[in-house]
């Protein structure tokens, strides 16, 4: 099987270790904040990338992103639980459970129908949250400052650094596990399903089950990402967490990153966050325009995403 050596796992290990160490030493608070937001979103994007390799794009993963965020926020409400060791697994679990149930419905659909059905489900959650006064309706509510294994940071800077470290560790774990999965037989089915479902079934695998598994996995990752974002920002509300534009953003970052590697979403998400921040600072009236133009350019000129650009550069070096 091994024709070329796979550098992904050593690569992400060194990469995340470097980000963690250099981040703690050199990153100013705002850039660390931006990294946290970008990586939290990237976790959801990793899940979307797995789906995309199967030929499926969900326009409704804000459903799971929002479920994760609201789970963390709700656990902490009224002096509840703020321990990330509990809240983050809970966010993941809630999202995965809902994903498991909805998976029975969506796994029957492909292409645009899959995308639209996911969107429809996410809008149901949005509608419920917007109308529920106990959850702050359109305002949402504040999220408690987290504790880490009982350690409760005193000031904002320490909290941010703790979140940053936890997140780097989580991202590394997710990247390694998802990479392993993609290398396994089940994982390799992804591309095969996209190319020809019937052939996969003749090989004795259930396409529906394979898709269901990936769907649950992507839901869990989106829940985890949403949970971290809620902790990092200290606030949840339906428009920023569950609206269809959030799903659009996630798909955008997926396309921007490209399906090439599990490392791609982290780089792509970072780039997206930087574009957004600077566009908003320089052209507050036209930042959507800049984001839109970037998206169109990627679709037309860089269908493999940023990763394909990196891969191309590396190939040139080898030659």
């Amino acid at each position: 099987m091994e024709t070329t050596r796979d550098w992904t796992i050593p690569g992400v290990t060194v990469g995340f270790a470097a980000v963690a160490v250099l981040g703690l030493l050199f990153l100013p608070d705002w850039l660390m904040n931006l990294t946290v937001i970008a990586f939290a979103r990237a976790l959801a994007v990793v899940g979307l990338m797995v789906l995309w390799r199967t030929g499926l794009v969900s326009f409704g993963h804000a459903l799971y992103f929002g479920l994760g965020a609201y789970t963390v926020a709700l656990l902490g409400k009224d002096d509840g639980i703020s321990e990330v060791l509990i809240t983050l697994p809970a966010a993941t679990l809630v999202a995965a459970t809902v994903g498991l149930f909805l998976g029975f419905i969506v796994r029957r659909y492909r292409e645009i129908f899959f995308a639209m059905l996911s969107l429809a489900f996410s809008m149901v959650l949005y509608g419920i949250l917007v109308k529920t006064e106990a959850l702050g309706s359109t305002d949402g509510f504040n999220v408690r400052t987290p504790t880490f294994l009982g350690f409760a940071p005193e000031d904002a800077g320490t909290t941010l650094r703790a979140i940053f470290l936890v997140l780097c560790a989580l991202c590394w774990t997710v990247a390694v596990l998802v990479h392993r999965y993609l290398q396994s037989t089940l994982g390799r089915l992804t591309t095969a399903i996209r190319d020809n479902e019937i052939r996969v079934e003749y090989l004795g695998y259930s396409v529906a089950q394979a898709i269901h598994g990936k769907y649950v996995m992507s839901a869990a990752l989106a829940g985890l990402g949403g949970g971290i974002l809620a902790i990092a920002l200290g606030q949840v509300d339906p428009d920023s967490m569950v609206n269809w534009t959030v799903s659009g953003e996630l798909v955008f970052v997926t396309i921007l990153s490209g399906p090439g590697s599990v490392a791609a979403p982290f780089i792509g998400s970072m780039i997206y966050e930087l574009i957004r921040t600077y566009a908003f600072e320089w052209l507050p009236h036209a930042w959507q325009l800049i984001v839109g133009v970037t998206l169109l350019s990627i679709i037309f000129f860089l269908p493999g995403g940023v990763w394909s650009l990196l891969a191309r550069l590396r190939r040139r070096e080898v030659e």
Binding site: N33, K131, L233, D237, S240
Partner: protein, 433 residues
């Protein structure tokens, strides 16, 4: 980095900043950020006048052209540079942007915010990032009820004042009202407004009944056909609404041809912004508030500051200033006074802590009214409130108000340390009307 090493680093930083603050040399510039809705449905009626009001007052401050006694230049002598940023896009986005403002752009102070949602979401973050933040418009009482605040100031009364004053006005002008209903947006602002109004009505007009079909459409819903039918069929003679942005104007357009305003008395607690914008299309006889003594309701107040404000605004923007223009101007003015007072006390350019200390409990004459930072430990302002009835002034061909009644601050706001709901439910003890 270990916690100890970090603490050490922070200590060094604090020491460094203290050393930098100690020499009494004047700082030459203060950077502030002014968030307001610059896109979305609230931009036209709220964001734009708000930004204009802030811009005009800041320019006058930098030029030293405000009327006396505020004619000294700058904030404690330092020129003010303002960044106007967009408040739309959801509360979570505002929280993220706020962090950017403080950590990336390193502004000295943030003055603004229109939506209650923004303020409620930001309050804990402000305390966490320890930056002077002056809330200009947002109305939810929760900002100071949810916990003690050190870095937040709000320079106008909160929503309780609007709705208690509304109930007083109904009692004074329409004592015959038997039943009442409401249409409010489905989020903190609408829910809190209705709750305060309903509770105040129970105290002030215990004989009047509340309808069981109170409407709460989603904010920015746009179409109110069914709601207007439901209100029309309701027996209630009085309708309360805290609609504000584009929803307010859309609702008036749809309800006017259906006779809602001739059949019922309708209170708009934030209706003031619509008056100049709709002009002749604004129906007569609406009960109009402007969240305090601002905009059209103080058009005739003849103080030097108010006349300056109206004239300068009209000359510069071609329309009369509405509530948000006054309210943002007032927030900027309050910050200037706090800086100047702190500088006088410190004998040099003040530190953040000194500005905050002098901001607490500040009392000053603003453009259209007197402001006392009397509640929440000197962080929350008290001002009077006012209601009137709309009436098109055919002679001057401009909108006007009649039957204007002012209510003193002590009559409509809870005393320090008591939450709004508790205070109203107990029958508003201690109110001086």
């Amino acid at each position: 980095m270990t916690t100890k090493a970090r603490m050490g680093a922070i200590g060094v930083l604090v020491a460094a900043s203290l050393i930098m603050a100690v020499p009494a040399v004047a700082k030459d510039s203060v950077t502030i950020a002014v968030p307001a809705f610059l896109s979305g449905p609230a931009a036209g009626p709220f964001g734009v006048p708000a930004r204009n009001g802030a811009e005009m007052v800041i320019d006058a401050i930098n030029a030293g052209k405000l009327p006396a006694p505020y004619d000294s230049k700058g904030f404690a002598g330092a020129t003010v540079t303002a960044d106007y940023i967009d408040e739309s896009g959801g509360n979570t986005k505002q929280v993220a942007e706020y962090r950017n403002l403080v950590q990336k752009r390193e502004v000295d102070a943030i003055i603004g915010y229109i939506s209650s949602g923004s303020c409620a979401a930001l309050a804990p973050v402000v305390e966490e990032l320890k930056t002077l933040t002056v809330f200009a418009v947002c109305g939810t009482p929760r900002v100071f009820e949810d916990g003690p605040r050190e870095y937040i100031f709000r320079t106008m009364s909160h929503a309780t004042a609007d709705n208690v004053a509304a109930a007083h006005y109904v009692k004074d002008m329409f004592p015959g009202v038997k039943t009442y209903t409401g249409i409010n947006q489905n989020y903190a602002w609408g829910q809190d407004s209705w709750r305060d109004f309903e509770l105040a009505m129970k105290v002030l007009m215990p004989g009047a009944k509340q309808s069981d079909k109170v409407q709460f459409p989603k904010i920015f819903a746009g179409q109110y056909g069914s709601e207007i039918s439901a209100l029309s069929l309701d027996d209630a003679e009085l309708v309360h609404s805290s609609f504000w942005d584009g929803d307010l104007e859309g609702f008036i357009f749809q309800a006017a041809p259906r006779g809602l305003f001739t059949k019922k008395k309708v209170i708009f607690t934030v209706g003031g912004t619509a008056a100049y914008r709709l002009g002749k299309k604004m129906p007569d006889g609406l009960i109009l508030g402007a969240r305090g003594p601002y905009g059209i309701l103080v058009r005739d107040r003849k103080t030097a500051l108010n006349e300056w404000f109206i004239q300068t605004y009209f000359d510069r923007y071609g329309t009369y200033p509405s509530g948000p223009a006054y309210q943002y101007g007032q927030a900027v003015l309050a910050t200037k006074i706090a800086y100047d007072k702190a500088a006088a006390a410190a004998g040099g350019f003040p530190s953040k802590e000194q500005v905050i200390a002098s901001f607490k409990g500040l009392e000053f004459e603003s453009f259209s009214t007197n402001v006392k930072m009397a509640l929440a430990g000197g962080h929350q302002a008290l001002t009077e409130n006012v209601y009137g009835l709309t009436k098109w002034n055919a002679d001057a061909a401009e909108p006007g108000v009649t039957d204007v009644k002012f209510y003193p601050a002590e009559c409509i706001m809870p005393p320090d340390g008591v939450t709004s709901v508790d205070w109203i439910e107990k029958g508003m003890p201690g109110a001086k009307c």
